[in-house]
């Protein structure tokens, strides 16, 4: 499946790009992270501490165990600091 993967804040800085389009067989967000972290040192560094990583699947906040079936866009970011 083809996925658009977006990164924000320090995840974007560590990975070095705001978005990428990838091919993956990952069934869950957690499997996608394993897939991405195996790509290179930058991805591995960004995903080295999953306690500091939040995600959204198709613009809805989701847990790392959320399924990816039918998803088109997954975003990764640190805990939000709005307000």
């Amino acid at each position: 499946m083809t996925l658009d993967v977006l990164y924000f804040a320090w995840l974007r800085e560590r990975i070095g790009q705001p978005r990428e389009r990838i091919e993956t067989d990952a069934a869950t967000v957690r499997e996608l992270i394993a897939d991405l972290a195996a790509r290179d040192d930058w991805h591995a560094a960004a995903f080295s501490d999953l306690a500091a990583v939040r995600c959204a699947v198709d613009q809805q906040l989701a847990s790392l165990d959320a399924p990816l079936a039918g998803a088109r866009e997954v975003a990764f970011f640190p805990p939000m600091t709005g307000g």
Partner: protein, 162 residues
């Protein structure tokens, strides 16, 4: 009932013109860029454009349903903001003040921890530092999930119109 994201400053009086017509109580909150250390020149706010306004609208609708709001407005800025500039505002309108106050408090707790914004402090020396989420913000949000909290409709005293 609206949520908006923008870089430009906003005028609170203009935002409130016509807001909550017919309500008995209107509460507004404005967040201002604050410098706690004396080292900060500006704040940079990043957001997730495809998601932000929809998330804010969802939280506004949740607050309206939970507290019986007659109107609500959320406005959040992004980009580079100087110390002292307003970052965001929340306005809530209801028949009675308890609902308006609680809904504004509830919305702020959601915006702090569940709206896709990330703050970065820019020092006078140009150094940038991402602001970390506080566990107290997460605690503040969890109190709204406790079943013991009063939910709308609140028992309103008959002799207290606001």
């Amino acid at each position: 009932m609206s949520a908006r994201v923008q870089t430009a400053p906003f005028d609170l009086a203009a935002e409130l013109a016509g807001f909550g017509a017919g309500a008995g109580a209107v509460v507004t909150f404005t967040g201002i860029v604050r410098d706690d250390t004396g080292q900060m020149a500006a704040l940079e706010i990043e957001h997730y454009p495809a998601m932000t306004e929809r998330a804010l609208s969802d939280y506004g609708a949740q607050a309206a349903a939970r507290f019986g709001l007659t109107d609500w407005r959320i406005l959040h800025r992004h980009g580079r903001l100087a110390v002292g500039e307003p970052i965001m505002m929340v306005a809530t309108a209801a028949r009675h003040r308890a609902a308006a106050f609680q809904a504004a408090d509830y919305l702020m707790d959601w915006l702090k921890s569940r709206a896709p914004f990330w703050k970065r402090e820019i020092g006078h020396d140009g150094a940038a530092r991402w602001v970390e989420a506080k566990s107290s913000d997460e605690d503040a949000l969890s109190r709204w999930q406790a079943s013991s909290l009063p939910k709308y409709p609140f028992p309103a005293p008959a002799d207290d119109p606001a």
